[in-house]
């Protein structure tokens, strides 16, 4: 039995128990009310033993309800423990070392080494946090643990634009800046790792080359613009204006959508974030590669980013998760 099956089974049982207990309490309250109403009648008619039995049954019901509550709580703790073991397994699979705090004088005397060590600890801490985050799809975390975490980092102090080099199969980024990325910690790192997964998960081809993924991206973009046109009863240009304004309200959460909407509309529906139009023009297929990396960074990112991607690209997002499963 897999962990995932156990989680869902435990969740279902907990939900059933909570529901059953609520129902039992409601019934008990009604019975208790009835018992109070009939107390006088029982006494006057000489049926006091019936009233006593009823009171006893009510107490038993309360006791059963308490027991169900205890079982539910125990099952909840079991589920949490199971989840902890599962995420520990993910971290182990990802090969992330345990943080070690070296307070020896050589670090104390060398500020640079200490800073570097702290950055590395912050990186490990953030990645582990992501692997334990319940809101992140399990598939994404498992793909990162099995493949993404093995990505070669040629430089984590690169001051140019972070990138993935498909021929040399490495990424370069700036860890210190990325830990404070406006779109959430390690946004660039997970974006570049997304490129790496796209390139290396499937033998002889890229996951993002999937025809239906590209079609879904285009269709979702068209549909979104059409829906805004309908909502505001405006032209396509007017819809693009409204979309730009919408993106400006949540600049960083919409960064990934801004990038891909910008690619598909020649920049007409783009917020602040995005690759340059020159970049898109060099290769018409780049929007798929970047969409895959953006989606991966979004699902591994802070709460709200994946939801933003789903908001603009619902079909493509579903297809992305299906493609991600192929990487397992």
């Amino acid at each position: 039995m897999s962990n995932r099956f156990s989680f869902s089974t435990a969740d279902e049982v907990i939900t059933l128990l909570v529901s059953a207990n609520e129902h039992l309490r409601e019934q008990n309250q009604q019975l208790s009310f009835l018992s109070c109403q009939m107390a006088g009648a029982f006494r006057d008619s000489g049926y006091e033993p019936l009233g006593t039995s009823m009171a006893s049954a009510l107490l038993n019901c309360e006791e059963i309800s308490k027991q169900i509550g205890l079982i539910t709580a125990a099952l909840g703790r079991y589920r949490e423990e199971l989840y902890r073991l599962y995420t520990d397994g993910l971290i182990q699979k990802a090969g992330l070392p345990e943080p070690t705090y070296d307070n020896s004088p050589r670090f104390g005397q060398n500020g640079e080494a200490l800073e570097q060590q702290n950055r590395q600890l912050a990186f490990l801490s953030e990645v582990k946090h992501r692997l334990r985050e319940k809101d992140i799809p399990t598939t994404a975390r498992e793909v990162y643990a099995s493949l993404g975490s093995k990505c070669t980092v040629a430089s984590n102090a690169y001051t140019g634009t972070a990138h993935y080099h498909p021929k040399k199969q490495y990424i370069k980024f700036h860890l210190e800046s990325d830990l404070q990325h406006p779109c959430g910690p390690l946004s660039s790192y997970f974006h570049e790792v997304g490129h790496m997964i796209d390139f290396q998960a499937r033998d002889g081809g890229r996951l993002s080359s999937d025809a239906s993924f590209g079609e879904a991206l285009r269709a979702d973009c068209r549909n979104y613009i059409a829906s805004v046109q309908k909502r505001y009863a405006c032209s396509e240009d007017g819809a693009c204006f409204h979309i730009r304004q919408e993106m400006m309200r949540c600049v960083n959460l919409y960064a990934d959508a801004s990038d891909i909407m910008g690619a598909l509309t020649g920049g007409a529906c783009q917020g602040i974030w995005g690759h340059s139009q020159e970049y898109w023009q060099k290769d018409p297929d780049r929007f798929r590669r970047e969409a895959f990396a953006c989606f991966f960074s979004a699902v591994m990112g802070i709460q709200g980013r994946a939801e933003a991607v789903q908001h603009f690209f619902p079909t493509a997002y579903r297809r992305f998760l299906e493609l991600l499963k192929e990487a397992l």
Partner: protein, 66 residues
């Protein structure tokens, strides 16, 4: 060419300022692809960061993905 909204531009410049001499990692703000960007790059070059121009142009390897 997109009409540049002053508010958008101001926000983009805030980002730029937050990152000091660097452009925002990975992504480049579209709305800076005008005189402002040129001025910023010129400023960076003046500060000895002339590799930035190459970075912005995408480098010389067409396969690299940002």
């Amino acid at each position: 060419m997109i009409q540049i909204d002053e508010q958008l531009l101001a926000s983009a410049e805030d980002y730029f300022q937050a990152f000091g001499h660097m452009l925002p990692l990975r992504m480049l703000p579209l709305h800076l692809s005008n005189e402002t960007l040129c001025a910023q790059i010129a400023d960076c070059i003046a500060r000895g960061k002339d590799d930035l121009t190459e970075q912005y142009c995408g480098g010389d390897d067409e396969d690299i993905l940002y």
